[in-house]
Symmetry: C2
Subunit: 463 residues, 2 copies
Amino acid sequence: MKKLLILLLLTSFHSYAQNDDEKQLKKIYDAALTEGKAYDWLNYLSNQIGGRLSGSLEAQRAVEYTKTQLDSLGLDKVWLQPVMVPKWVRGTPEFAYLETSPGMTTTVPICALGGSVATPVGGLKAKLIEVKGIEELKALGRSKIEGKIVFYNRPMDPTLISTFDAYSGAVDQRFSGAEEAAKFGAVGVIVRSMNLRLDDFPHTGSMSYGETAVADRIPAAAISTNAAEMLATTLKLNPETKFYFKQNSKQFDDVESFNVIGEITGSTHPDEIIVVGGHLDSWDLGDGSHDDGAGCVQSMEVLRLLKISGYKPKRTIRAVLFMNEENGLRGGTEYAAKAEMSNENHVFALESDSGGFTPRGFSFDGSDADLKKVQAWVPLFEPYMVHSFQKGYSGADIAPLKKEGMVLAGLLPDSQRYFAHHHAANDTFEYVNKRELELGAASMASLIYLFDKYGDDFGTLKP
Amino acid sequence: MKKLLILLLLTSFHSYAQNDDEKQLKKIYDAALTEGKAYDWLNYLSNQIGGRLSGSLEAQRAVEYTKTQLDSLGLDKVWLQPVMVPKWVRGTPEFAYLETSPGMTTTVPICALGGSVATPVGGLKAKLIEVKGIEELKALGRSKIEGKIVFYNRPMDPTLISTFDAYSGAVDQRFSGAEEAAKFGAVGVIVRSMNLRLDDFPHTGSMSYGETAVADRIPAAAISTNAAEMLATTLKLNPETKFYFKQNSKQFDDVESFNVIGEITGSTHPDEIIVVGGHLDSWDLGDGSHDDGAGCVQSMEVLRLLKISGYKPKRTIRAVLFMNEENGLRGGTEYAAKAEMSNENHVFALESDSGGFTPRGFSFDGSDADLKKVQAWVPLFEPYMVHSFQKGYSGADIAPLKKEGMVLAGLLPDSQRYFAHHHAANDTFEYVNKRELELGAASMASLIYLFDKYGDDFGTLKP
């Protein structure tokens, strides 16, 4: 009987709490969809500022703009955290053609990979060797590679439903292709763009020369998927086809930049910090709307939505707009290092860096016990079609904060369209849908609210 | 012990079947994503044919094109089912302006609603009265309405997560606005476009004059959401503002058109018919890619995917491309009437008419017992992020087939972007993502496969 009574009490308490949370989430989603600011902020970042490569004037303007906007929200604290970032510059537009016989040339769209060295001033022309990946390169060996341009042409796997899985399975060609090809005497590298769609946009992205000596570094560029298909066909017809490309990208000394931070200080547990963030830098070809202007304005919107909903967080909620995710991760690394030095207690972190598309759920990086608790919130998100709570990766910028018992999370938007725009000239504002962006922001604010409210039950904080 | 054994046997049988189904679904999705035809078919329908209003030359070309394509698939039967359809023609482009004082005019984008009568040859100019809906119109009464143009300006509710719910809550203004306004002596009707986004596209759509005598019918047009906002602001500043519009749309006599049908005849239960369909007609402003070119090519693709997967359906699977969903539903009505006359036994039907966006699930119209059985398939769809199996509406074209014990279903794509394009000049091919379209087709083929295989357990067929 007593047991039954306790059960009844628990049930009614649970219903009460659930009901309360349902109302709070509804408040958050309604505000995001009717008086949201994220879309206007993104419009400014994208159309008034544009691509925000680390170390660029645009990146600095974005730092100043977002700080001003955070200042206007009446938060408890807004500040800039200095961080030294690499400065790589694309230079004049790249140019490339293939030559099937002397004088018979066809121009193709390419772009230098981020971090690539320039070609010689007059450009670089050589025969091509097509490979499907680094393993095939190694199998071919020096005799087949030396003096040639290596053409990496393994497409992303279209049968993987998460396009991020398909990206992971192909991006080694872009990241390590030049380093590996140089070992066999290649003179340059052309990589099929990381894009599931056949179109004419080359997609840039980070690459590394690893331990390659400066003198041995070879230039690397991405080629559009349409041109990659054409190149492969041409090579089958005429293996003597030559490829010419010219780029004058350059790495400068590091320069100072900033993470932009705003916080609502916790009312009862100010020392327990919850981070929500995205990265403010982007590649230079488009305006970085999806990658990751969206994540930045959503993170700013989380603070605003919590504030206007009247909710007083127990813990400190910080929006962090990280600098330099794309080609160095200096912002995320610096933020975590400073947090450790200052003995700051970060208890939860959430990143949005997968585009401003319809949110499908979250991926969580944490203990199984904590993930089970998170799963209990799924019914609260079901009315918003945010069903998918998965175990998985959170985000590059918050990953350095990871410690035992902490839960890190990443927003999971629908991924089907992402790689048609990622790191390319068509990552632009017109491809962001206002409602999709807003639903993402509301989902993030709702998760932050729940972690703040029920944080005591989780890993690091559990008594 | 015996009980346990049965349980074990059942479990292992279940695992085996599950495993089999998992493999079949994987086969279907892989084929859709690697060698799909839906996108190419849609490209042709949209870019070589264009908008396919019932009774138009384009509609006839679409009938012939899709029949030819179905013919090429090696199906058991392909045919055209004649159906008489209404023929409404927009005429020369509409023209409208608002006039705040004599000579002070601002042009605004409008389009005639489907079925609307023309204005007088010289156009129509009158004062405006803004209402938020039909209730407000009635409350104002004849003295406030007579001689004026009624401006219906209740927006779709942005807080509803399913934009179809928001559409349902606003579309009475478009459908019945003219009929109701005419009763109070209005001379014309301007309706805010059914669009959640603020932009410059007017959205057409069907309307009805109900029992209004021909002589009393008043012209009705949609105005873009941006212009609706501007008009409302202007009216607040100057209630004497006049509105001018001119359109010469016209209704002709009915003409003959066709439903396009292809089938794989069932191997063991040929008399039990499963329908999968979309509608081939569209509005005339865009090219009808999302509404409903997508549903047509997905339905054709279902037959192709089942065929190339090597699966031999027990029941007859029919793809039906219905004519005239938009302004008459004659195709759906005729198909059902013919089916009844011929004593055909339709056991399941699925429609795709909510756009070619990422599939989120299905809505099912059927008995609770049958829906429970359907729910058991959710785990099979989870790897494809098709989580949402809801009770609800199926589709306009298949609804006339409804009978006791039958399950009808509708594909549920993500709805956030749909009404930015619906019935407007920007419902065009460029806004369809290839993978999203293909995932929808694969989801439909998978559901059809499961209904064919396990159909014996359901309503009408259960022994």
